[in-house]
């Protein structure tokens, strides 16, 4: 299988490569439109800040390329947030694969921000969640979130807010948590993205 990881200035690509390698897959890190178009699967990781990431994608012309991809596409963390219409992080217009905006956590003082650590995902019956056990804990690190919407297939609660932890629309998937850092649960979800969807 030909897997492409979108190369842009929002790091931690190595963790994704390591997780894929543990599953027996190799991936190519690329920002070449041709390679992205030809891949069987595209993974869009991300740790960083929305406006800087969007500026980079636009400069490279990648915003249009990503939006028009037809194969299964998975955004992770910031990658998922960039797939919304708009992010409150530095008021940034985003790629718009999902019909929803990304907003900042506003929580009572006792809730720390970022939402950092292990939390549970409540999942629907999407094939991305095939073969998962009952306990569905995933590792999150984020200060902004995508509210629940029509495209939500997995949700998580923090500080009284139930937000989208997994989104799906057509060929586009997004995870707010880091599957590459979420132990067996994360590896199963990555494996499903490669083999079940």
């Amino acid at each position: 299988m030909n897997i492409a990881i979108v190369k842009y200035n929002a790091g931690n690509i190595r963790s994704v490569l390591c997780a894929l390698s543990r599953l027996g897959y190799e991936a190519k890190v690329t920002d070449d439109p041709k390679e992205l178009n030809e891949a069987d699967r595209v993974i869009f990781p991300g740790v960083g800040e929305a406006s800087t990431a969007m500026a980079y994608l636009k400069e490279k012309g990648l915003d249009e390329v990503l939006r028009n991809l037809k194969q299964p596409f998975l955004g992770i963390c910031l990658g998922m947030q960039l797939m919304s219409k708009f992010s409150e992080e530095h008021d940034t217009p985003c790629l718009g694969m999902f019909d929803v905006d990304c907003v900042k956590f506003v929580l009572p003082k006792e809730y720390k921000i970022p939402h950092m650590g292990w939390n549970t995902i409540t999942c629907n019956d999407d094939s991305l969640f095939a073969n998962l056990k009952e306990e569905r804990w995933a590792y999150f690190v984020h200060s902004y979130y995508v509210p629940k919407c029509e495209q939500t297939i997995g949700s998580t609660e923090y500080g009284g807010i139930e937000f989208s932890s997994v989104l799906h629309k057509d060929n586009f998937y997004g995870c707010q948590f880091h599957p590459e850092k979420s132990g067996d649960v994360g590896e199963t979800i990555l494996k499903n993205f490669l083999e079940e969807v």
């Binding site: 790091g11 931690n12 950092m116 939390n119 690190v141 067996d184 590896e187």
Partner: protein, 259 residues
């Protein structure tokens, strides 16, 4: 609901773990990667590796080790010890570490925290604080604590709560708070100090130093308001095993990740 985290800490010298770690079924007890995999299997929520290598020449060994850890384990890990420059941080993050912890370096030059947070993001900047009681800092009937550096050997004249607040405002993403008074004594964490730091900052606080019993973890998570608890020898020597600890804590109403 967000779970409280249990974090074993491993000291690494010249690429190998130190302390007579005694884990079941390990071919090589000094092999940090094998140990990390074992902890990951036994339910550790995160791992911390402290490089106590004495020489600069052997720093490269630690980076190689970090790459190997990232290859093998699928949970987050923090690395610390001997970090001097932004390039050191970049090399460790590129090698696959999720977070780095800084201590003496941040006290010497606080703007390091701003620089690292700006370049790499707050989520990967852990500010480690080593605290010792100092009655000179007592105020309003509350115990005063002083920041120590260089492995707890050197005093700084800085009060702990104010330093934690400063680290937070400069962009640290987490505080790793170690009570040097409690460390190694196994009489419980510095619960009162942990609570005060946790209430003073808007970022997660990892409590460290003093774990001896499972009840100590309950205390630091409830009264101490810690978001995570770190320990070393009690895990390494099987005085407390993580699966049993997590069951115990869950029975006491503390949210724990189950595998």
């Amino acid at each position: 609901m967000l779970a409280k985290r249990i974090i074993p800490c491993l000291d690494v010298r010249d690429g190998r773990t130190v302390k007579g770690i005694n884990f079941i079924n390990l071919r090589d007890a000094g092999d940090a990667v094998e140990l990390a995999e074992a902890y990951s299997r036994y339910g550790a929520d995160e791992l911390t590796f402290l490089d106590i290598t004495a020489t600069v020449e052997n720093r490269g060994t630690f980076r190689t080790l970090v790459r190997s850890i990232a290859d093998h384990i699928g949970i987050p890990f923090t690395v610390g010890g001997g970090i001097r420059t932004e390039d050191d941080v970049a090399a460790l993050l590129d090698s696959g570490a999720d977070k780095i912890s800084i201590n003496s370096q941040a006290v010497a030059k606080a703007s390091v925290i701003d620089d690292l947070a700006l370049r790499f993001g707050s989520q990967c900047v852990v500010c480690a604080i080593d605290a010792r009681r100092n009655p000179a800092f007592d105020k309003d009937g509350q115990d005063g604590w002083e920041v120590y550096v260089h492995g707890g050997r050197k005093s700084t004249g800085i009060e702990v709560i104010s330093w934690a607040k400063e680290a937070y405002s400069r962009g640290a993403g987490e505080i790793l708070l170690t009570s040097m008074e409690h460390d190694g004594v196994k009489q419980g964490f510095a619960v009162d100090l942990t609570r005060r730091v946790s209430e003073a900052v808007g970022i997660p606080v990892i409590a460290s130093g003093g774990a001896g019993t499972m009840e100590h973890f309950t205390e630091v998570f409830t009264e101490g308001k810690a978001d995570a608890a770190l320990a070393a020898s009690i895990f390494h020597f099987h005085e407390i095993d993580i699966p049993e600890l997590k069951i115990f804590l869950a029975q006491h109403g503390i949210t724990m990740r189950k595998q």
